[in-house]
């Protein structure tokens, strides 16, 4: 690993100040992606700004929103009785990201800011129509994800929390894992809530997470696996690699979507 300067600011303003003044500085959340990347010397930040002391972890529920602090680890979301009650599909999704050790460190904010095309959280955030809150503004999920590893975040902008609108009537996530890495080759989150019926797919798109309007329309009319059984997402624009062709991923999207709908009940 190349060396860097390390900071652990005690206020959000200080963190933003360091990151804004130095384009080579990077924020450090749970580090479950960033540290492996640094170990491989694939990135050479001048400074790391540890977000652990900013008080950004925690889960709050109101009648209209479930709000998860950006530094909340996956394991805390998975085990939260409040999340399980309000949006069971979200707790379930968090319970099988990576592995147990990763879930103890990895955070929702880090996952969203990184926007890995195979990450699980973007599917839930998009399908549930969540709002990403930062140090300076609120960004709708529909505007946040802008392609592989690309988001609407400005340089130095820090996610503080993610608000999921309530009440959510149905929610579920299913994924087909790449057998070795266990990342989602295809993951589908289905939801019925204040933003309507929404279906979001991760792992498959060349531009990262995306919605499937045809499935959303069909499920809005009739919420059942059968109603989407004949709907195929075109392989054009889907990922094709040694683990699976675009056509295979296209097939998996329908299969995972049907399973998710069945799981949501």
């Amino acid at each position: 690993m190349y060396n860097f300067a390390y900071h652990k600011p005690a206020s959000l303003a200080d963190a933003v100040k360091i990151l804004s003044a130095d384009p080579e500085a990077r924020p450090l959340a749970g580090g479950q992606t960033l540290i492996p990347v640094l170990k491989q010397r694939l990135n050479k930040p001048s400074q790391l700004v540890d977000l652990a002391a900013l008080g950004l972890a925690g889960i709050k529920v109101s009648p209209t929103a479930l709000t998860i602090g950006a530094m909340t680890p996956h394991a805390a979301v998975a085990r939260s009785a409040e999340v399980r009650k309000a949006i069971p599909g979200l707790a379930d999704l968090a319970s099988w990201i990576g592995d147990e050790q990763v879930r103890h460190r990895g955070t929702i904010g880090g996952s969203l800011a990184n926007n890995d095309p195979s990450a699980c959280y973007p599917a839930a955030v998009l399908a549930l129509g969540a709002t990403i809150k930062t140090d300076r503004r609120e960004i709708a999920a529909d505007d946040f994800f802008q392609g592989m590893f690309t988001t609407a975040l400005e340089p130095g902008e820090i996610i503080t929390e993610v608000a999921f609108p309530l009440p959510v009537e149905k929610s579920a996530y299913e994924k087909f894992r790449q057998p070795a890495s266990r990342y989602a080759m295809v993951g589908v989150f289905v939801a019925k809530g204040p933003k309507g019926v929404r279906v979001a797919v991760t792992g498959a798109g060349q531009n990262g997470v995306f919605r499937v309007p045809e499935m959303e329309d069909a499920l809005a009319k009739s919420w059942s696996p059968d109603s989407i059984a004949a709907i195929k997402v075109s392989p054009d624009g889907l990922v094709s690699d040694i683990h699976g062709s675009a056509a295979y991923r296209s097939h998996l999207i329908t299969v995972m979507a049907k399973r998710a709908v069945a799981k949501a009940g």
């Binding site: 060396n3 860097f4 390390y6 170990k39 652990a52 592995d99 103890h104 460190r105």
Partner: protein
């Protein structure tokens, strides 16, 4: 160089580290606790698993400076001072849950966290899922799963530990 202060196996330590020093490097190289292994460079194998404030984490995937103020438990902190093994270690021995032993410290640390977090019971499937982050290249996991199920019985008081 920055200083980091933490508790390792109940003992307070303060060590000078580089910002890029990994927690596993602090444990192995600065403190001589070589029971925590490094089995890969890609954060996948779990041989370096330790407990950080009671949660299993990969000590190769966090910086030593991130452990400031934390309580770390390593494989060396499990047995009693008189040498009596932790029930999980004892059950790994009893069920022959290791062959070359390289992954064992990480397996044991993950397994203890898993058992601690599931007082209500653990199915075989849950044990196998719980070991997702630990790779073993020789025993094929079968006896590891058996050992963990047996240790659950002892750790949750369903069965007495064998007298040492």
């Amino acid at each position: 160089m920055p200083q980091v202060s933490l508790k390792v196996n109940g003992k307070k330590v303060t060590v000078e580290v580089e910002p890029r020093t990994l927690l596993v490097e602090l444990l192995r190289e600065k403190l001589g606790l070589t029971g925590t292994h490094i089995g890969c460079d890609t954060s996948q194998c779990g041989a370096c698993t330790v407990h950080l404030n009671g949660d299993s984490v990969k000590s190769c995937t966090m910086l030593a400076v991130q452990a400031e103020g934390a309580e770390v438990l390593t494989i060396e902190g499990l047995a009693r001072p008189d040498g009596t093994l932790h029930p999980m270690q004892e059950m790994f021995r009893e069920h022959h849950a290791l062959q070359c032993g390289y992954c064992t410290p990480g397996m044991v640390m993950s397994a203890i966290d898993l058992v601690n977090k599931h007082p209500e019971g653990l199915t075989e499937e849950q044990i196998r899922e719980g070991l997702e982050g630990n790779l073993c290249r020789c025993t094929g996991y079968h006896n590891i799963v058996k050992a963990i199920a047996a240790a659950w019985e002892i750790m949750h008081g369903k069965k007495a530990a064998r007298a040492a």
